[in-house]
Amino acid sequence: MRVFQFTEQPYPDAWDKHQGSLRVNLPNKLLDPAHAADLFHRYYDEWQLADQLGIDIMVNEHHQTATCMSSACVITLAVLSRITKRARLLILGYPIANRPDPLRAAEELATIDVISRGRLEMGFVKGVPQEVPVANLNPVFQNQRFWEAHDFIIKAMTSHDEPFNWESENFHYRQVNIWPRPYQQPHPPVWSTTGSKLTAEKLGSLGYTMATLGTGYGTRPIYDAYRKGYMAAGRPPPGADRFAYLGFVAVGETEEEARRLGELVLAYPRTSGIVHPPFRNPPGFLSVQDNVRILKGEGRPRSFTKDGRVVNMRKGSVQDLIDAGVLFCGTPDQVFDQIIDFIGHCGGMGNLLMMGHAGGMSHEDTVSNLTLFGREVLPRLKAFRQPEAAAAAE
């Protein structure tokens, strides 16, 4: 099993200054570049600690937001390639549907893979709705652009003879021949994220590592859809290493201490949705049927606890989110048990993407969280034997 430490690299000092929106249109004068510099270096230090503790690393990318300063993921990856020694470097994800130049993406990722000596885990994502007004590429064709860019990047990374030509609907190149080419062969492992069973099935058919984010005890059907797609391609049931899950993690010496950290880390779900509402639903992102439902005011699916109770991610308490399988919080033993129980629900989950820092959690708290997790929980997880690879829920 692998565990990846993740933070969004936020700028929390601006969070109390929003007037209904932390993303896209919160003026950047609210960021003090000197303080931002301090935060960046602090986050890099904490990832370096993760590396030393045997934890792997996850980085993400968002734009124009106080919730995440990582507007160009390749920068963090480049820094980490140099200052870490062993950790896998997961980007989840590179928003390839939002970038007009997938050749650049291929070059960046190949270079990171080389500098890190083959530690890149390459996650491609479509991008969340609030990225659309920033990139300004047509959201109606988001999905099409995603797969086109994906196809191109894979080809660019796996073509080693003379330059190739590429004239697809959205991207035109006449001489593609990237230098350097990736370290890992045939290319770094590909990941993607989803909350949809349809996409899960497609990712399964491709054999990519699939991550779901905070889907809690509603995760199983999505994993099963993946399994269906994976095996339809003629393979035996997928191992746990194909599956990833992003949950919030807060470990304390005492339950009380853990819950204090839990409150801090929950700053993420409590703020990440604070977006100017018109930016939440770009045209073409949801189906027309879904849009009609939204016009009528019909709600979207929520998180569920093990016994089927609905939990609001944004407003739920620490206990609510533990019950929902979204937050793993407590003493090391408690956290270990919660994670194992969750893995059982999933029928196997080999990559825990732990958000071990969020919001205004201090450096000291983050170090404490990581250290305790690294020393007391991680070894047990690494020794844990995943359930038999299964076709679907028993």
């Binding site: 007004p133 959201p139 109606v140 509402p277 018109p278 045209p283 073409g284 009609v292 016009l295």
Partner: protein
């Protein structure tokens, strides 16, 4: 008021592309090209169409992607729509067509006219979009995808209350069209936003009498935009309309129809240079 019933509505095929069309009235043929988002209410029983039908044979298609007929995969620009509607005129063998377009439909109409006026006799644009007048940092149009629907209504209508869609009381069919219109307008006009950078330099090609109607309360387009648009078309007349915003055909349907009819029969003197 002409109410279009389902009988007026038919599904036809133009070069293999499915198209829903509403036809009513008799007289010279008039092709009406409807607006897109931020309309909020799209209907084949537009009072304006009924009013126009008193003087014209009104042909009102639903642009592919805006209603029940999907846009084919390759149809992704207003340019595509313009050629498609020229194909439609060929298919129906129409001549002397009065081409009327509102807002996004006005953009399509202008693109059609710069390509060929062979089957057209007149062009009417009502609060059209489609060209860029402002400099690179100036918005010619409000970013309708970045503001609340309530704000859109205030900017688009002289009477915002009347223009705000009464969602709880709208049929599923109307809601369907609203959602489709929001998406389809983005399909064709996301970026460059609601315009073709080339169109302005082509407007001189329009060689038929043209009328630009302008609902004066329009705050979706920048002040002076529609006037500047008219100035780009040789000999175009510019007629402000009172008590109307971005959709004069919706807010003042009778005055709109009258303005079109008067223009076609040259009630007022016309100057040709």
């Amino acid at each position: 008021m002409g109410a279009a019933s389902a009988e007026n509505l038919q599904r036809i095929k133009v070069d293999g592309v499915e198209l829903d069309i509403n036809e009513q009235g008799s007289g010279p043929p008039l092709l009406f090209l409807h607006p897109g988002h931020p309309l909020g209410r799209f209907a084949h029983d537009e009072p304006a169409l009924g009013a126009l039908a008193k003087s014209f044979r009104v042909i009102a298609p639903t642009h592919p992607g805006f209603g029940h007929a999907d846009a084919p995969k390759w149809m992704t620009s207003v340019d595509d729509l313009a050629y498609f509607y020229l194909d439609l005129l060929n298919e129906l063998d129409l001549n002397g067509v009065v081409l009327v377009g509102a807002s996004f439909g006005g953009w399509i109409a202008a693109e059609i006219a710069v390509k060929s006026t062979a089957r057209l006799s007149r062009l009417v644009l009502a609060n059209p979009v489609g060209i860029k007048i402002g400099d690179r940092e100036t918005r010619d149009f409000v970013d309708i995808y970045s503001i609340f629907d309530k704000e859109i209504a205030e900017l688009a209508y002289a009477d915002a209350a009347a223009g705000t869609p009464d969602i709880p009381n709208l049929s599923d069919e109307t809601l369907f069209h609203m959602a489709r219109s929001r998406e389809a307008t983005a399909r064709y006009g996301w970026s460059p936003f609601l315009h073709n950078p080339k169109l302005k330099s082509r407007l001189h090609r329009i060689d038929i009498p043209t009328l630009v109607l302008y609902g004066e309360a329009d705050r979706i387009t920048r002040d002076g935009y529609c006037r500047a648009y008219a100035d780009c078309i040789p000999g175009a007349q510019f007629k402000p309309m009172k008590d109307a915003g971005h959709f004069p055909h919706k807010e003042t349907p009778d005055a709109f129809a009258q303005a079109v009819a008067n223009f076609v029969v040259r009630k007022d003197k016309e100057l040709v240079s």
